[in-house]
């Protein structure tokens, strides 16, 4: 400790020494106590956290996860430059949204027509494999976003389109006609633009600047196809 005390004291005499310059001169001797405890406040909290989630009731777990999902929904509906979606990614939200969308978009099993709307599995595959393809594409182009973070963002940004699907199904209860179609078209277009804006707000920063358009175009195509499936949904 004696040597390190000298170093700041020397600064008044000569030119300012760079940081850690004198460290190489230190030899560890018996006098310097090198044992001790480094206490990081976060660490103990995390340890308590880990052990407590095993013992807590299922209701607590579910409520906590639902709250996390709900918070992310809010971040998608009001897209701001925040890192919450990226930092604490989870795939519950995308799963809930994808299953809801696929349940609403599927054609009924009694419908035996060959050319109808998509089946449940087709919607599921399009959403998940589309998201995986876009993620791989953005990683191959040199983006520095992780695989699951990108899946999380793309999945959560389907929320506006799911809302559009709900609205379209309600509107379809009214009588069919050009006004019906125009309202649905309007709603789907707005939600499509909202999805693109929300996902671009999160994803565009992860790409090098001269490849942003290359990474955003597949996202545009993905949400366009989902919007098309929503718009052409006809109840049997």
């Amino acid at each position: 400790m004696a040597e390190t005390v000298d170093v700041p004291g020397d600064s008044g005499t000569g030119s300012p020494r760079p940081l850690f310059a004198g460290l190489s001169d230190i030899s560890i001797s018996q006098d310097i106590p090198v044992e001790g405890e480094i206490t990081i406040p976060m660490r103990s909290q995390i340890r308590e956290f880990d052990s407590s989630t095993l013992n807590e009731s299922v209701q607590n777990t579910i409520v906590r996860d639902l709250k996390a999902v709900g918070k992310k929904f809010m971040h998608v509906l009001y897209p701001r430059k925040s890192n919450t979606l990226l930092r604490d990614w989870d795939l519950w939200g995308p799963l809930i949204l994808c299953v809801t969308l696929a349940l609403m978009l599927q054609r009924g099993s009694v419908d035996s027509e060959k050319d109808g709307g998509p089946q449940f599995a087709e919607v599921f595959v399009i959403v998940w494999f589309g998201a995986i393809t876009i993620t791989l594409n953005s990683k191959l182009l040199g983006g520095n976003i992780s695989f699951f973070q990108s899946l999380c963002v793309l999945g959560y940004c389907i929320l506006p389109l799911t809302v559009a699907m709900l609205v379209c199904r309600l509107v379809l209860f009214a009588e069919p006609g050009p006004i019906n179609f125009t309202v649905r078209l309007f709603v789907v277009i707005i939600m499509f633009v909202w999805s693109i804006v929300a996902s671009t707000a999160f994803l565009a920063d992860s790409q090098p600047p001269n490849r942003k358009a290359l990474a955003v175009y597949p996202v545009f195509l993905f949400y366009f196809v989902i919007s098309w499936m929503i718009l052409t949904f006809t109840p049997q």
Binding site: P18, F20, A21, S24, I26, S27, I28, E113, K114, D115, G116, G117, P118, Q119, E122, N137, K139, L140, L141, G142, P208, P209, N210, R211, K212, A213, L214, Y217, P218, L221, F224, V225, W228, M229, T232, F233, T234
Partner: protein, 332 residues
Amino acid sequence: MTRFARVEGHRRSVGRDPRGGVQRRRERPAGPTRSPACGGDHGPRPGGAGGRRRRHGGEAPGRAPQAWAELSWRQADMRAGSSQLPQAERQQPGFWTFEYYQSFFDVDTSQVLDRIKGSLLPRPGHSFLRHCLRHRPDLYGPFWICASLTFALAISGNLSLLLAQRRDPSLHYTPQFHKVTAAGITVYCYVSLVPLALWGFLRWHGGARGRPRRPLGFLETVCLYGYSLSPFVPAAVLWFVPVAWLHWLLGGLALGLSAAGLVMALWPLLRGDPRVMVAALLSTVLLLHSLLALGCELYFFQPLPPVPPAPLTTALPPGSQLPAGTPRTTGT
């Protein structure tokens, strides 16, 4: 002390002096020194720029441990090096690594746009292979152009069915989702199998004749075919308008541009070959391309049905056929 000694040993074993290494890297030219391709001069590579950024971040004076910085330098160097050297001189990572596939996506937005422009508007004398690809094929363009074409065909075809149904209510409108699968399989198989056949044939033929010229790579052939499908995307989008002469016009235009690009790219490679073989090869390529265009147009798009004849109601003068769906007024 032991901590620093270990780092020093590591650096020595790598055989690099950080300061010398940094200077060596600084001497490398800023960007690829080649003439502008496809009408654009491209800025420094992103790998190079990112690598340089990381190098500056790791350049700490003194003996601060730089093992982690050196690893990231080496990664950035490999990426920068891989993007600045032509493909033949790159050190190829193994096909099981992610970097191997990353080398196929090493393009910028401006380059992709230039390549699309080069294939949409082929200029005689400017081979797509030589001027746009410049021996640096990418997989981004072919993959996403095929995806766009798939969805353009399916969605546009569905729109044409919708418009046909409005003319003739007896048709039943359905979303026809199976056409997406059909379009995808057709387009992706075309862009992978036909280049494979062409590449195989050119390799076999070149090998048989002992040709000294650099053979066409498989990826370059896939790239050529993928970008050559780009005129079909706007044609597919506009094909939803159910007017017969417009279909023929758009189809002919797209096929002409696409085929011209292909022929102009393949022509320099076939110089010195017997004319019969060249003619046969080029006509096969053109025939397959036309089959694709014709098949897509016929399968995915619904021709406008003729106006259904009006039922014989009272006092409708002949020749004043009202289209179906409008209210008919009996009596004139």
